[in-house]
Symmetry: C2
Subunit: 348 residues, 2 copies
DNA sequence: TTGAAAGCGCTAACAT
DNA sequence: ATGTTAGCGCTTTCAA
């Protein structure tokens, strides 16, 4: 079935194709009477402009591409643990795109590849997106940023605090860690363990820094004593928890740098016969579904990931709509401490 | 920066654009010497064909669109509970697309809309995908199927057992329910509660049927006694669990039609002072991360969702590559019973 | 085996 | 306020 084109609509309306184009794109210089006149046939015929042809005509592509790290995505798939962060990012961006007549395309890129620049360039040539969303750890990858900048394609770095080119949307992870740590300090905890994230992600260091600073500010001696390396996986979290809980005196609270490791802490504590929060308080960072449904539901930092992504998409779509705007901007979104049942006052 | 086109490559190679096109698309009738000759410049220049132009030229679009129900997605986003099924579907399809030079585009459609047909048609006109993946509940929506069939766009219905047009990839949910129920029967359970899913999804009835059949086959009198309505949400699952656990005599096991409701059962049981699996066995269906990390980790049916989606994408890509193939096929993938710690022998 | 030319559906630039 | 024309980058005829 050949589909209806702008020519059909124009013929039916008895006007030129350009007029139809103007109406469809809400351009000025169309007489008011024409609006319904041209619009009616387009409705009747069920016309919607073909995106490829539009792009060929020199207009926008109505495409936003989000780059995800391939290795991460693959591993995620294999382990099937559901990377909630990416999902929420996608929902937010997709909804915003959808509302603005845009389409979101997820693309896998191999950050470790030697051909990274070439690959990124190829995707851009092939797809011609109006904008690109970068998720960690590509948000801070110099090669990716370089290609994007060279091509002059608007892009937004998600979750990056680094001062780089393009737009960025993030939240203050260090401050979030300080707030979370502060919550435990208020409950009387002094021996607090902290399981770090993978060094590949800039966020790991930021959270660790916030934790250490909060302890230092509270006058805790040797604030780094409880810092134990983790890697964002359940297994890594379990190992770290075992190390921490074998210490004497034992920490009365543990902060995990992500939810999966926090779940692991809960498991290890349970195995050791420790009750949460009576014997051990546990707090974490991402507020994924799993920790809301855990025993007990966990205290955490709530990040507005979907909102961040929606903002990112909005910035790109606006940039495509009004060229010549600033090509850099920096946005910090608020987070929220959510106190649940996994944290309680330290027992005497 | 103007990007490199086929013309540049042709000039550099000293051949016609058509020859370059042939090389790029692995078409026959190119002399062997030309292959490296034309390919070298294309590498040097970093050429990749523009998808929009390709499409305009009458070739494939290299696009697969997956339709998701908008209301479901929105609700999912708001409740932020992470619809693992969709995520796994997407991973599988995306990886397959990526491996074949394709791109996956998620589109939201409003199944409740009166303009559904028009909207679907608009997306198809706009994007011109080479194929469409339908996720439940759109897999069985007659209007959606009608538009697709009329347009002659290859599509695959995911998780649909209905005998309809197009391709379908599913697993035998009824059989899965029978196997899961059989596991409990073997452990000696006779009073088994079953919390159904939402009636909007065809899978709900299939699982319920399998459960009832298994009990009947085992000679359990009144096999429908334990069937209690649920809706796939945590709250709905909790309500159903409360009803079931208030019965006297109490069921010794409960099967929930999805993981979120199973988590709710665990919560309610815990609140009532029932220990799992000693006092109550719990089993469920989707094997999402949350039930692997729950206390205790739950017995479940493992569905190869990503593999199903990958197969779906493969079918569509193959169909686009070799027109004239059968436009219907039906695939049933195997599932797996995974026994964890939430189910145990009935206590005397 | 190779190439020249036409055209896909749309929009930008340039008339009118 | 409206229409005409010339591409956009590619692939398909069809011819050499």
């Amino acid at each position: 079935m050949r589909s209806v084109t702008i020519v059909h609509v124009a013929e039916m309306a008895g006007v030129s194709v350009k007029t139809v184009s103007r109406v469809v794109n809400n351009e000025p210089n169309v007489s008011a009477e024409l609006l319904p006149g041209s619009r009616r046939p387009s409705r009747t015929l069920g016309y919607s402009p073909n995106i490829a042809a539009r792009r060929m005509g020199g207009a926008k592509s109505y495409l936003i591409v989000a780059f995800n790290d391939r290795a991460l995505t693959l591993e995620n798939w294999r382990s099937d643990r559901g990377n909630n962060w990416i999902d929420r990012m996608q929902y937010g961006a997709m909804l915003e795109c959808d509302a603005r007549g845009y389409h979101l395309l997820l693309e896998l890129i191999d950050l470790e590849s030697e051909q990274l620049e070439r690959r990124v360039a190829a995707v851009l040539s092939t797809l011609r997106p109006d904008g690109v969303i970068l998720t960690p750890p590509s948000s801070d990858h110099p090669d990716v940023l370089a290609v994007l900048a060279r091509r002059q394609i608007p892009f937004v770095r998600m979750g990056s605090m680094a001062d780089g080119p393009g737009h960025s949307v993030a939240l203050d992870d260090a401050e979030a860690a300080r707030v979370l740590t502060g919550h435990l300090l208020e409950l009387g905890h002094r021996r607090i363990g902290f399981i770090t994230g993978s060094a590949r992600f800039a966020v790991s260091a930021r959270r660790e820094d916030g934790f250490v600073e909060a302890l230092r500010a509270a006058g805790v001696s040797d604030p780094r004593a409880g810092v134990t390396p983790g890697d964002f996986t359940f297994e890594g979290g379990a190992r770290a928890a075992e190390i921490l809980l074998a210490q004497s005196p034992r920490p009365t609270a543990i902060i995990a740098s992500n939810d999966e490791m926090a779940l692991a802490v809960l498991h290890v504590a349970q195995r050791l016969g420790l009750s949460t929060p009576r014997d051990l308080s546990v707090a974490t960072f991402d507020d994924s579904p799993s920790i809301r449904f855990s025993f007990p539901p966990m205290t955490t930092i709530r990040q507005p990931v979907a909102e961040m992504a929606a903002l990112g998409a909005r910035i790109l779509i606006d940039a495509a709509a009004t060229p010549g705007q600033a090509d850099r901007s920096h946005h910090l979104l608020p987070f929220e401490l959510i106190v649940r049942e996994s944290t309680g006052p330290v027992q005497a």
